[in-house]
Homo-oligomer: 463 residues x 2
């Protein structure tokens, strides 16, 4: 009987949802739901009672109010490319996945301002194409570009490859529209470069990982298009030398867009697995640099590299296919690691002047835990953001993650540079955020979502 | 008797404050207090029971807790250069001015990151000097640089002259320390370029005008120093032509740092009052451009200006004294206006493609209100941020302000581009912020300061 009551309630709830978003957009069929219930790493999965796909903020607002009335939890989801379990169902309480799949409208590019308003479900690649068509660039790029959405990028304050020049998503987002837990719609889409009329509501929602609001639209600020590009790969003797080089390049070469780091074990993996010969000798570290400008940026780059004594240790690429060949080395690495097993992927950041010491201590830490563990470190050197990959420990063994995070904290770093906190890192947050900051975060969460129906247990663990 | 009880309470409160910050830093003498109780425009003034000057966040925390216990309100104050009444005492409730005057510590510049941590009471000019000494620039400049503090700049998300290139304060601030109403200290000073571990607490505090927290330290991100500079002043036929020129320059000349607008009545004022002849003919509008780069930026600038058909209508300055002469024209304008009376100074922004229409309608609006009113518009063309000055109406006549703000709202603009909302504009906020945004702001304010002791009636009017 209780079951029947439950079913009647569910039925009424479902038909209520369908009333607002249409029958086709309340997905209950288990086989269709499945792709929303498991993330692409297959590490995170759970069950939802429905996947709901609103067409706009007004529909999302109705859905959130209905969920609030019934105590149904909401898991916002974009491209489902997250790595920290922040966008998949979890726990046993009734929950829906609120998908941005239909929020794919792309507005006209304002060519004077270099801005465009796009739906949260637009992919990063589609945003990049739109920007390019109008003579701009998006100013943000990441490996998951074809699937990751602008809404997800906003919710996580994603960074990626060009953040050292153009900032993380936070800098590119000059307005947004979102729906709060109680259905309130907040909208600021004018994209004014200077606007301090009241609290910067968009700035708080960016990076809140769907726990404070469901983002429905984003106003994006593009950057000017730069046609002349050059890529250089340099073998160096140590991470310490790589850091010094990154600093010289950052301040000495204004056209630098990307400075990536590869280290010994990753370089060896590339040498072992790739068919083509390596363009520079294996070394303790490689630095991969891309410059872009309206005119050829080579001259200044070569000047600075010469001062640093970089000669035969480097490979220089100007034409598109040579550039791609060098860039491919960095892009191939995550795939090669995946082929060797399920690695612990930790996305951490430390102040640049601590990076070398952190790297040495990290190697020692992994060695001491087990001689059979393999550590592969690479990442965004220009931001002090490295991806720590550890092959060997059981995927569910959190002790190794904890040890790395503690090391990061000792160096004044962050346990999340760009992937977000999600579920994975919520319990480690106190390592890098003071009690005062955590208190402030909780007060904000409680104020905006007192029943904690929006993405519960993401970022902040329920007490 | 009630008075005596009141006095005893006050006495205990004062000695409690002195216990934490020292006798010399609880200022009660009316003549010394006076300079904190009145702002520099003399429009805003009120009475406080004491001016309290903590030496650090820990002291500020004790002061805030004491005030919370006694229901004493707090008005944070930096350089007291605000224009909107956000930093002076108001109303009759017991209140203190919490001054950043002793928070003047300047940390070591991290040369790799280009960052420095400074106390909230450090002036913008001192920050600029520190940055320059180490080969950087602050990347923010404004007229009040010698008095305005970094804490005030942070609290208001100030913009200024270089915002089109380097962003407003929000972009330059990569961390901060603040004390919330209940004494909680929040601190994030590592300045990591990528760090999305939890909500971006600093991003919410920046621009909250002292209503959510008292900022005690700021981590500032400098920009690279650019030695080669050029300034050009161009006479144009209309604001519409000025806007088109600004757009071409912004996207065509990467070294552009500043694009300022002067308009007819302001140009006439300069012609009438300055002794030196004007460097270009009087015109409906002037555009003043500054470029800066590590190498001479003239070539590209001249190329773009030639394409725009700018020839004899312009004055070009490369050496420092000629540049200063041109820049002085723009800087002299506010002073000349002040000489003519107390003007209504409204700091508004509109989307750039609406600026010309807004300007025309604004002129008509002022003309229609009274033929004797004088309108002088100038400002930061590159950001669509103009300073509207109206001479003639009584300083307390809010009707003219309201009419201008309504016009701004019709054009999708903001009633506050850089001065902040303060007390002056709180009641106009609903013109440009939706009910949803205002609701979210109130929820945040209530959560962080339930008794509303921190700068009450600033930004949000008490209900």
């Amino acid at each position: 009987m209780a079951g029947a009551v439950q079913d009647n309630m569910t039925e009424g709830f479902m038909s209520g949802l369908a009333h607002y978003v249409g029958d086709d957009n309340v997905i209950v069929a288990p086989d269709v739901r499945a792709s929303y219930e498991t993330d692409w790493t297959r590490r995170w999965h759970g069950r939802c009672i429905a996947v709901v796909r609103p067409a706009d903020a007004a529909q999302a607002s109705e859905v959130l109010q209905m969920c609030g009335d019934r105590g149904v939890r909401i898991v916002p989801q974009g491209g489902n490319t997250g790595l920290v379990g922040g966008a998949t169902p979890r726990g046993s309480a009734p929950q829906i996945v609120l998908s941005s799949a239909r929020l794919t409208k792309i507005g006209d590019v304002d060519r004077g301002a270099g801005q465009v308003t796009v739906g949260a479900g637009v992919t990063v690649a589609a945003l990049q194409r739109t920007a390019r068509t109008c003579g701009f660039e998006a100013g943000l790029d990441l490996g998951a570009r074809d699937t990751a959405t602008v809404g997800g990028v906003a919710a996580c304050d994603a960074g990626g490859l060009q953040a050292m020049r153009y900032g993380t998503a936070r800098r590119r987002i000059v307005g947004l529209e979102a729906v709060l837990a109680d259905g309130t719609i907040v909208r600021r889409l004018a994209g004014l470069p200077k606007d301090n009329a009241g609290y910067n509501v968009p700035a708080l929602l960016v990076g809140s990982e769907g726990t404070l609001g469901f983002i429905t639209q984003v106003r994006w600020s593009c950057v000017s298009r730069k046609e002349a590009r050059v890529v250089v790969l340099i073998a160096v003797e140590s991470v310490s030398e790589a850091v010094a080089m990154a600093t010289s390049l950052r301040w000495g070469v204004p056209s630098v867009e990307m400075i990536e780091l590869l280290t010994e074990t990753g370089i060896r993996l590339l040498g072992d697995r790739l068919s083509a010969p390596l363009p520079v000798p294996p070394a303790p570290a490689w630095v991969l640099v891309e410059c872009a400008d309206s005119v050829d940026p080579s001259e200044r780059l070569i000047e600075v590299l010469s001062d640093l004594g970089v000669g035969e240790r480097s490979a220089f690429a100007v034409d598109a296919s040579s550039r791609r060949r060098l860039l491919r080395l960095r892009e191939a690495l995550p795939e090669l690691i995946t082929q060797d097993g399920i690695s612990h992927k930790l996305d951490v950041g430390v102040p640049l002047d601590s990076l070398s010491a952190f790297y040495d201590e990290l190697r020692q830490l992994v060695r001491e835990r087990s001689p059979s563990h393999r550590l592969i470190v690479f990442g965004h050197l220009g931001d002090g953001n490295v991806h720590v990959n550890i092959l060997g420990p059981d995927p569910d063994d959190e002790a190794v993650d904890a040890a790395v995070f503690e090391l990061v904290a000792e160096h004044g770093g962050t346990i999340s540079a760009e992937h977000g906190v999600g579920v994975l890192k919520a319990r480690f947050l106190p390592l890098v955020r003071s009690a005062g900051e955590l208190r402030m975060m909780r007060l904000i969460k409680q104020a905006l979502d007192p029943a904690s129906i929006l993405n519960p247990n993401v970022v902040l663990e329920e007490e």
